[in-house]
Symmetry: D2
Subunit: 366 residues, 4 copies
């Protein structure tokens, strides 16, 4: 494969540049017979789209999705579902000075070296704009996982710079522009972001995504482990620099007697595993954490070189997210959904006939 297709049985093939005619994807492998409308997809796209608050990029894109194929009389047919999102706001002049030099921390330099050509307008293919496509495809996966298996996938921003925001409740997440799970932090976050924007700098963030009501037994045991595929999926999101499953890096200092989740017929007693053992789902909630680096496109001047290899200073004045992590929650949810639907289908292929009389252990006892 050439690197723009995600998945083995539920495959998403993505295309499009930030300032090209359109972005979109082909979703191949969706089972037939599921009701699907543009509204199902638009709802998720609206959660990610730019311009929804002053804390994110002010680029104006409605991100209106068109379904080109794969649906007949309101239902999936089992054939490829093509999704198209036309680009609308393409202020390419903002990028004129970037064409000849490379933003530190950005893919400008590596694209140029790899391809000998690059679409510098808005980062071209390297732009986070591509992630709209993932959210659209993920919406289909989420819907199917929920309708067929009852799986619920949600996420929240668990840290913005130095501000750790603990989980309080899911309702909060939908009621603030930061996707944090505790509304009482919103004022503090707004002040933080206002100061950051004024400074011309950017900041990193941390996300948490969760899949609830998981079946037991999804995942492959060696290379295509569920956690390996989640690692791949999350790390494939622009700006992600780290991934944890369950206890993650905290496992380093844990004893086995603490880390290993004890099992009782009434439920697991903890979930350090993050819902995955030996690459296969335990039936507990799947929990992953993702580290997102600060945006590389900032107003502050930075040392770099130009195409001739000569030293230069780069300042970026386009419309960028000062914290790309804020809009990344729906993206991480989408990627988790894409991993899970793929393993759901693989499980059916190989294990459809398995009879296991041991009852499924309930998730963590609260």
């Amino acid at each position: 494969m050439s690197g723009n297709t995600f998945g083995t049985l539920f495959c998403v093939t993505s295309f499009g540049e930030s300032h090209g005619a359109a972005i979109g994807c082909v979703v191949d492998g969706c089972p037939p017979g599921m009701a699907l409308s543009t509204a199902d997809i638009q709802r998720e796209l609206d959660r990610r789209k730019p311009g929804t608050s002053r804390h994110v990029t002010q680029r104006r894109e409605t991100d209106t999705v068109e379904i080109l194929s794969g649906i007949f009389e309101g239902k999936t047919t089992g054939t490829p579902i093509a999704l198209l999102i036309r680009n609308e706001d393409q202020r390419s002049k903002d990028y004129g000075n970037i064409a000849e030099s490379f933003r530190p921390g950005h893919a400008d330099y590596t694209y140029w070296q790899k391809y000998g050509i690059r679409d510098h307008r808005g980062g071209g293919r390297a732009s986070a704009r591509e992630t709209a496509v993932r959210v659209a495809a993920g919406a289909i996966a989420k819907k199917w996982l929920n309708e067929r298996y009852g799986v619920v996938i949600r996420g929240y921003l668990s840290q913005l710079g130095e501000i750790v925001v603990p989980f309080k409740n899911w309702d909060a997440v939908t009621s603030n522009p930061f996707f944090v799970a505790d509304d009482s932090y919103v004022e503090q976050l707004e002040a933080y972001m206002d100061a950051l924007r004024k400074s011309g700098d950017s900041i990193g963030a941390k996300l948490t995504v969760v899949a609830e009501h998981m079946p037991v037994g999804w995942g492959e045991p060696v290379y295509d482990r569920l956690d390996a595929d989640i690692g791949y999926a999350m790390m494939s999101i622009n700006a992600v620099k780290g991934v944890e499953i369950g206890a993650g890096f905290a496992s380093v200092t844990q004893r086995g007697s603490e880390h290993g989740d004890e099992i009782t017929p009434q439920g697991f007693l903890s979930n350090h595993a993050g819902g995955i053992l030996g690459g296969i789902s335990t039936g507990q909630d799947i929990v992953a954490h993702v580290a997102i680096k600060p945006t590389s496109s900032i107003r502050l001047p930075r040392r770099s070189i130009n195409k001739a290899g000569e030293p230069t200073l780069v300042e970026t004045h386009g419309r960028h997210d000062p914290c790309v992590g804020i809009r990344a929650t729906p993206i991480a949810e989408a990627m988790l959904a894409l991993v899970l639907i793929d393993h759901a289908l693989r499980h059916r292929a190989q294990n459809a006939d398995v009879v296991c009389t041991t009852p499924k252990v309930p998730g963590k006892i609260d």
Copy 2:
């Protein structure tokens, strides 16, 4: 794919259970004409093999590799290289009591639910024994990367439980049984491990792997990013719960003005990116960190259930590594090698004709 093949163009298909007849793999896609002998592979296997110190499992396996195909007159032919390692020490009776119940924190429960059958002897396919195969295949990848492109791949144990061991020099790594990069910590680590073993418990660890002398331009930009594939590769190793590239989770609190590595004609001024931008290698060192959980097989009694779903207590008395992280350094190196050779080949396929006149920027200036 069915989950036991790693790679796209350089493919490793692994087989074998901990206490079956043998483990091994087929390496498909190795370019022809490279000198290769069993010694090249055995050298790496010996770094990982059990029984080399009192701090690791006392299982006695020589891990002797046989090359079954793909070599003619001492050179690779471009056809599949099959590697075979016979299992020797299979004290299966140690596992009798595990057959009917599930070790907390182990794949016992998930295998049983997924397959309705499991080879309980030594964990079967879920055993870390499978990783010998990765080390063997990785030895081929390492050799080719080094001979063809000069890439050097090495790793070290950067933390064992609470003990952080900073990098001092590479020579140290080869002179102690812990793979730490500073010999002055060895005494402290030995005392720590002796106490741990006595307690019947286990502990987590953290590894760091590095690829030096990297070409610029390897990696795909969207899903099959170099970092996404490293995330997948590392997370596919038994017991890994977290992966970081470069600054990793430290990026969360970094400003863009700090994180983005500035570029000068003389070299990069830092390497927070860990050698990858936009999914493509920058030519700086690739740096990844890996969190490894404590072994789940411990002597201490733990609550669990049996096949009937009834409560039980599980104690494990087989020969297990109290810290699987100690022997994991060669495995993580191997996985990094497998990712890099795959992208080296993919780069040749698509970008063989690219001419880029911008000189490659040297790595970080020390």
Copy 3:
């Protein structure tokens, strides 16, 4: 993979139904730096499009292609090239009666059984309309193969029903609506087709495709042989029931002393192999023959069943090609191009460093 992507390194992912909003594809893996415009693609589409003579379907489609991504300043960037063709002429009422029953010899029945749902309008995804997408993608492959390696891919109709039309010259092929390589047969073919149309029946055909100026050494030796991939590619075209490479079924009665192409420094003495030995190109012309069945949608009444499983009679009155073979030549050429570019890229990946001092043997001496 879910069956709508063709290729390993040069991947075409196709979407769209006959009477849906659009058809199209994403071409992933095209090397960067090649000049490409819509005209390059449109030229090939125009060769296949309906309504060009009275002997093919009278459906009116301009088959206008739009390039949505992957091109910057007139050149391929190495990122996915998305192609979109809007459907224009969708006289769905023609298909009303087909919705409830199954045309003998058509995919109606199998789609219904497989998916439990089907887009009956014009055959939906089973329609030969999907092949426009292949021609569009193939145009890119053809151009690259020609510009980079000098390979020329062409085809012709070698038999229509009982009328065998031997190869005379390539110029003839472009000057008649049948793609035959001898203009002197045109009158006979026109009369044959006029009578056929009048009868309400349809007829089969045979095509020949050729790749000239082939490099030696492309192809994988075991499963992904060049001939195996050509077999797969051709058999994936709607209505194809047979594929031959070189001597094909005539090999059955050949002696080894006749079949094996003798080699001289001046050139091969014959080409029974069709340019492939052991799955790898010999440098001779690649020659493949394809059998195409008669269209199943005919006016004559035929026995069938309806969705309830009850007997019924089916007559099809839409606008169908009485001989789908006539428009299939550009499709077969496209599929051959897609196979060859994939193997060209694979060859570069694995064998870029191979030095072979034996000179390439010229093709067949005329």
Copy 4:
């Protein structure tokens, strides 16, 4: 993929050279819980093995298979099944003169050009010896298809040189060394082969393979059609030059009113489709025909070149099959089984929930 793995969900990765240490494969994706012993596999291997009559190669190989993994207590576990066959009779001296020159019609020349190195002993990887591996893997697929879905896969030699042998009954096939379905031809065939052997020449053949008791609905509709995958599978067998499904090349002269198989509630009225419509199984028997070229290794002297590109004469005096088609029937059966099991698993993945109330139409009414 690197060309030595067959299949998408049921994957066979093959290794080994004709005169290397061993041949074998890894079968990944076999569902768990099926009883499997070496006898199940050996039975099929014995049908293909050399030296069983004077009409095939006199090389002495017992082709004894060892199962290295994937079986526990007599049942498949769902993990990779590794199969090993040691090579025994390696009279490499027979091939001394071939090392420096290229047999006409053989892969010698193309391997050399592709890899710059080749294992000339017995054709190395290009030898038909590799097909033993396919038969072994196919035995597993056949067994599963039969036990789970009742599918029966069988084949026969339908033509040897000019002698067409029509199908009479399946019992005959197992009672003669030619795999013909009518014993009354055996004497004629023996005389034919004796004369051929004496002449030092070789001859082509034609096979027919059939899958009975097929479910309806297996196969993907566009690229990975069931017939496309059969085309690929058959063409990947050494020496195959042509493949037909159902009516095959006879379709060229058929009318639509003849070719399209009429449907009645009692059954189809014919099977020109060969059991596949639109790439999906109809539930009728799948029927494929395969053309096999004459062996290229013959005693008669032939013009060729040596490694220096100079003219030479080549005579081959090793132990070769004068008609490779004779032993190819079990191979073609195996490949059909591998295609079908793959699609069976894919069908379960995507279409497990499909409810279709239209009854399955019985196969052809005799």
